[in-house]
Symmetry: C2
Subunit: 463 residues, 2 copies
Amino acid sequence: MNYFEKKKIKDILEDKIDNYKDVIVMGWVRTKRVSKNIAFIEINDGSTLKNLQLVILSPDEHPLAEINRGASIKVKGYLDKVEGREQDVEMKAEEIEIIGEAPEDFILQKKRHSFEFLREIAHLRARTNTFGVVNRFRSKMSYAVHEYFYNKDFKYIHTPIITSGDAEGAGEVFKVTTLDFDNLPLTDAGQIDYNQDFFAEETGLTVSGQLEAELLATALGDVYTFGPTFRAENSNTSRHASEFWMIEPEMAFCNLEEMMTLMEDFIKNLFKFAVEEAEEEMDFFNKWIDEGRRDMIKNIIESDFGRVTYTEAIEILENSDHDFEFPVKWGIDLQSEHERYLTEKHFQKPIMVYNYPKEIKAFYMRQNDDRKTVAAVDCLVPGVGEIIGGSQREERYEELKNRMEELNMDLEKYEWFLDIRKYGSVPHSGFGLGFERLLMYLSGMQNIRDVISFPRTPGSAKF
Amino acid sequence: MNYFEKKKIKDILEDKIDNYKDVIVMGWVRTKRVSKNIAFIEINDGSTLKNLQLVILSPDEHPLAEINRGASIKVKGYLDKVEGREQDVEMKAEEIEIIGEAPEDFILQKKRHSFEFLREIAHLRARTNTFGVVNRFRSKMSYAVHEYFYNKDFKYIHTPIITSGDAEGAGEVFKVTTLDFDNLPLTDAGQIDYNQDFFAEETGLTVSGQLEAELLATALGDVYTFGPTFRAENSNTSRHASEFWMIEPEMAFCNLEEMMTLMEDFIKNLFKFAVEEAEEEMDFFNKWIDEGRRDMIKNIIESDFGRVTYTEAIEILENSDHDFEFPVKWGIDLQSEHERYLTEKHFQKPIMVYNYPKEIKAFYMRQNDDRKTVAAVDCLVPGVGEIIGGSQREERYEELKNRMEELNMDLEKYEWFLDIRKYGSVPHSGFGLGFERLLMYLSGMQNIRDVISFPRTPGSAKF
């Protein structure tokens, strides 16, 4: 038998294969019902949520007793269309071979397991309906990202994971080293001698590919990253993971306003892809995870995103009757409750809040003429608040240097970052989207641990 | 001016924009020639290798004196087709504005810089012809990978970067930690207390996503990874980097032979994509990096890959008149000189060598009935030798466990890996392709440092 002759259940159910055709199907048993003269087995091969029903007309001739839920089998037979049923193809099985047995007490029995329990067996959970769907959805949405940018002629770049930058303000960094902890080399002054480490200096895991993306945008034009990033923060919440994937486009010759237009276009396109190209998965989420999720997504696709300055947003919040836990005044970082009030109650659609106080934003953001705010933007959506953040970058050498000095940053470490402001500097802008946050938003899944196959969180790096 | 009204030089030169149309173009100056009544400037915006020629009819009216090579400018004007010239569109410039100046002694002058020198200024080298091409090529080939697998309904999976596995046999591992080196916690027995580290155990950077890919393949069917992997090996060669991107497909219900068919199909499709969809880049490589490279690639696309067992390959080598540096006998790991003799001299086409001695291959490979060899395959191509390696995996619980015990591996650490052999185990196979090796092969670039934007090698993690 040839790999290429084997048929996937997805193709069978999508009617890509003729009726009565002889086929070979392989998959894992989901259910089995045996009576005297007929037996039914449903199998799944991971290609789709749906199972293929096998009809066995001579149960005695097959090793049905040994086939438990979870076992893998190989089946020869032919397809038979059944009119008037939702899933209108079944397979008349002629030969059944057990490939891999499963014990009668296989851990994934036919019942609802809690997501908490399934996290403990992350090596098996992709065999459940929910996590099969989540994995296929993640794959499709990854492709959506690449397709969007490829068609817009953005260059996909791979920024380094191991970095010697100190990632001012972006969060705690994991150290990367090959030093022997039992025998750490010391300098004459008694300090750890990083000269003897693998890279001859202190290195860590990247918290963002943005700075490197800026270097490449100011050579290639439009670029984007899509890769893993890291935070060594000891926060055990449902929205934080220590390792997650980020999408970071960076555009040369692009100001804040132009970037906001792109941001809106990007979100709408991804959401459209989900609704149109991941129909099965969105059906599932809408039915089992969060009813109404699809309508919410469709509403966003059809909205014109609002645009409002931070200062205006603060005024709206101050003038509202709403009782906020965190008091509102100009200068604060917007809390989730503020963001959600703005997008859900006041505007009732996605909005972009821009021109934030410079004190609460990163050093590389472009200072506005008021000297108080920077050209930063957060895109807020109903149900969650901020989903994407971005900014126009400070492209003026003197302004950037001054700001870095104000913040006592080590200019030498950033020489290359300053350099590109010296040689044909250009206005440029970019934004960052946490891929898992996107998946959670589209699916309604509530815990980031359930949209990554093997999540890394404080105290947990299993599998 | 709107970002979306700005025209990319690529679109202009590909005739996507009408003649005489008013356009705005922004880019970096590559050359400038000024005479009394006319001036010419060539600019590049990173969208293509080619420059756009600007014709300035009243040189006195523009700030030409201040425009040095490397400066960024914004130009308004209209397009004008010029018959009978290779590049038949030029732009009559009406307004020129300097966006970012460059000093007269800008480091990237119009001359050939050595690749060694350009590595020192990796933050600027993407502005050269060669590295612009390399970056765009890398982006296109990345897309080729995703497109190939998406169309074949493989699921793209993100396997973890931080891992607690010990990656038996795959190479040295970088440690990942948040422990304070100046104050390492110790257990009562005086050992480093990893319980107090971030993940409560020793963790490192992944050397391969394969083991996790196996978990997901045995749930989802066909999957692939495409992400960064790491080796903490102190090898300063032109072919090794400490951080590189790997492509690792893993297929359930797939044996060695079927996998070889997929491998051949995969390589041919990627190579075809390069020749057809990255024409500009392949032209450049063929002209400036390695004449004949394109023909070599085309030959491979048209070849039927040979298949030969390791044992047969050893016989061929033993019977040849060739004088090898490393002596040939059954049991040795094939050296580059052996591989190249086989593919270049003997077969004169790509070949797959399979069924290697188990002692020189990894623990997870499926043992053949001869008990001496495993179902491993290396694909060898002219000019380099091995380009892809893969294997059918040991899916039999007892066989795998015995092999791991023979090798004194810590079974407890691999409980999850053994588990999937207990519950509906299936034959499955996969291979791994180093993405940079692929790029080097297609382009003819000789140093891995020149196909990664910001390479990480021993002693070097700058940018």
